[in-house]
C-alpha cells in the first residue's frame, strides 16, 4: 500500500486550558508499497499521532494522508495496528485474542480459526493457545498483539514501539522475529521506535522526525541486504548508517535544547 502524507498537521486541544497543541506540523513524505519504514524521533514528537492518523483513529487538522491515493477516513480493514501496550483482552485466551480482529470484521468462525492457527505458529506461540495474557511474559504478549494484527491480513501494518517495554535481550530477539515474519508477509509497514539500532536493523527506509511540533527532518535509506540476521548489527555498513543517524538525532536534540532551557549555553 502506497502512503503519501501531504502537509499533514494535527492539533490537539489541551483539556485543562483549552489551548491548542501542535503535535504534527506540515508533514510530507511518501512510502512505496511493500517497504518497511521506521519512524524515529524524540518522545512527544508526534510518532504515535502519525500512526493514529494512518489507522484512522485521529483526524488530521490540515493536509491529508493518502493510502493508495485515497484520503484516510476512519479505521479500515486494510490496516491493522500493533499497540505499544499489548492491549490484550485479559479474559480471552491467546487464541481468542488473536482472533479478535477477525471477529470484529465478521469473518466466518472456521476461516478465522484456520488463519489464526497458522499465525500462532508463525509468531511462535504454539502450545500457548489456551493461556491467558496474565500468564505470558511481555515478549509473548507482544507476539499475540502482532498475531492479532497480522490475522486481518492488512495491506498496511502499523507498529507503535511494540518492544519498548521489553528487556534488551528479548527486544533483540523480537527484532529478529519481526524480520523473519516480514520476510513471509512483506506487508507495507510503518514501525515507530526511538532505538537507532532497531530502526537500522529493521528498515528499508528511516524517517527522522524533529521534536515537537513534529516535522520530517530527513529520510535515510538503509540498503543492507535482506534477509537480515542479528549478526548484521556487527557489520561495518550497519555501523556507518547507525552513526550518521545518531549524528542527525544529536544535532536535532541540541537544536531543541538550544531553543529551550539551555539557551546561552
Amino acid at each position: 500500500m502506497n502512503i503519501e502524507a501531504r502537509n499533514l498537521s494535527v492539533d490537539y486541544t489541551l483539556r485543562l486550558t483549552n489551548e491548542p497543541l501542535a503535535a504534527l506540523k506540515s508533514v510530507s513524505f511518501s512510502v512505496e508499497s511493500g517497504k518497511f519504514v521506521c519512524l524515529i524521533g524524540a518522545s512527544g514528537c508526534g510518532k504515535t499521532t502519525l500512526l493514529n492518523v494512518a489507522a484512522g483513529l485521529v483526524a488530521p487538522s490540515a493536509g491529508e494522508l493518502l493510502l493508495d491515493g485515497v484520503p484516510v477516513y476512519g479505521p479500515g480493514r486494510d490496516r491493522a495496528m500493533v499497540f505499544q501496550s499489548a492491549a490484550l483482552l485479559p479474559w480471552r485466551t491467546v487464541f481468542k485474542n488473536a482472533m479478535y480482529g477477525l471477529e470484529i470484521q465478521g469473518y466466518p468462525f472456521r476461516e478465522a480459526k484456520r488463519i489464526v492457527s497458522e499465525l500462532i505458529d508463525l509468531v511462535g506461540l504454539t502450545g500457548f493457545e489456551k493461556s491467558f495474557p496474565r500468564e505470558l511474559s511481555g515478549g509473548m504478549q507482544q507476539r499475540v498483539n502482532l498475531a492479532r494484527a497480522l490475522a486481518t491480513q492488512p495491506k498496511l501494518l502499523l507498529m507503535d514501539e511494540p518492544f519498548a517495554s521489553l528487556d534488551a535481550q528479548m527486544r533483540e530477539y523480537m527484532q529478529g522475529e519481526i524480520e523473519r515474519i516480514w520476510q513471509q508477509t512483506r506487508q507495507t509497514t510503518l514501525f515507530v521506535t526511538h532505538s537507532i539500532d532497531e530502526a537500522v536493523f529493521l528498515a528499508d527506509e528511516i524517517i527522522v522526525m524533529t521534536s515537537r511540533p513534529g516535522r520530517i527532518k530527513t529520510t535515510v535509506q538503509v540498503d543492507l541486504p535482506r534477509p537480515r540476521a542479528l549478526e548484521m548489527k556487527k557489520d561495518p555498513r550497519f555501523h556507518a548508517i547507525a552513526d550518521s543517524l545518531r549524528d542527525q538525532l544529536d544535532r536535532e536534540f541540541r537544536e531543541m535544547m538550544g531553543q529551550g532551557i539551555f539557551q546561552g549555553d
Partner: protein
C-alpha cells in the same frame, strides 16, 4: 506444606470459637446465671426447630425463598441490564445517574409502607421489597465495571473498525462480569433484609412472619430458629458466590 497446615489450623480455630460460644450459650442459662427466657439456648432452639419443621415451617421457608428468588432474579435482570446501559451510554447516564444515586442514598425501607399499600400483604409486596434492596447495589457496581474498561482496549477495537454495539458486547460486558458478582455479594444481603422486613411488617406466611408471630407471644426459641435459618442461608449463598468469583481468577490481571 506450611500453608496447608496453617489453613487447617485456621479452620480448627474457627470451629473452636464456634463450639465454645455454643457451649457457653448452653451452660450459662442452664446454670441460672442468665435468664433463658430472653437468651434461649441451643438445646431449646433445637426442640423449637423440631416442632416448627413438623408444624408448617417448610411452608414458611418455601414462601420466603420464593419471594427472595423472584425478587433477586428481577433485581439481577434489571440491575445488570440498566447498569450496563447506564455505564456505557453517556446520554442514558446523564438522564438517570442522579436518580440512581439518590435512590441508593435513601433508606429504602421507608418505601415499604407505600409498597404494602400498593401491592398488599401477599408475596408481591415482599418480591418488591427484595427487588428494592438488591437492584441498586447491582446497578451501581455494574456501572462502575463498565467504566473500568481499559482505554487501550477501546482503541484497539476501534482500530479494527468495531462499532459501538461490538465494543459494548466484546469489551464492556466481559470486563464488568467480576463487578456483577461483586454487586451480587452486596445484593444478597440487602435482598434478605428486604424479605424479612417485608414479612415482619405485614404478611401471611414466611420465615419473617413466623418470627414476628413468635416474638409477639414471647417464644424466643422460635425467633432464634428463624434467625439461624437466615444466617445459614445467607452464608451458603455467599460461599456460592465466592466459588463463582474463583472463575475470574484465571484471567484477572495482577
Amino acid at each position: 506444606m506450611n500453608s496447608i497446615n496453617s489453613s487447617v489450623r485456621d479452620k480448627l480455630l474457627a470451629i473452636l470459637t464456634g463450639v465454645t460460644f455454643v457451649g457457653l450459650w448452653e451452660i450459662l442459662p442452664a446454670s441460672g446465671l442468665i435468664n433463658p427466657f430472653f437468651t434461649s439456648s441451643p438445646s431449646r432452639i433445637y426442640v423449637a426447630a423440631k416442632w416448627l419443621f413438623a408444624n408448617g415451617f417448610w411452608n414458611d421457608i418455601y414462601v420466603s425463598l420464593t419471594q427472595f428468588t423472584l425478587g433477586m432474579l428481577l433485581a439481577m435482570v434489571v440491575g445488570i441490564v440498566l447498569g450496563l446501559l447506564l455505564g456505557w451510554y453517556k446520554t442514558l447516564n446523564a438522564m438517570f445517574e442522579p436518580f440512581v444515586t439518590m435512590l441508593n442514598a435513601m433508606p429504602r425501607v421507608a418505601l415499604l409502607p407505600i409498597i404494602i399499600l400498593w401491592l398488599g400483604i401477599g408475596m408481591e409486596s415482599k418480591i418488591a421489597a427484595v427487588f428494592l434492596g438488591a437492584f441498586l447495589p447491582i446497578i451501581i457496581t455494574v456501572m462502575k465495571g463498565v467504566r473500568t474498561v481499559d482505554e487501550n482496549l477501546i482503541k484497539c477495537a476501534r482500530s479494527f473498525g468495531a462499532n459501538d454495539a461490538q465494543m459494548f458486547l466484546t469489551l464492556a460486558v466481559p470486563s464488568s462480569l467480576p463487578f456483577i458478582v461483586a454487586g451480587l455479594h452486596i445484593a444478597v444481603g440487602r435482598g434478605l433484609v428486604g424479605v424479612v422486613i417485608g414479612e415482619l411488617l405485614a404478611s401471611q406466611a414466611g420465615v419473617g412472619h413466623m418470627m414476628a408471630k413468635a416474638s409477639a407471644t414471647f417464644q424466643i426459641d422460635k425467633v432464634f430458629v428463624g434467625v439461624l435459618f437466615l444466617a445459614v442461608f445467607g452464608y451458603l449463598l455467599t460461599e456460592l458466590l465466592k466459588l463463582i468469583e474463583k472463575q475470574f481468577e484465571k484471567w484477572r490481571p495482577q
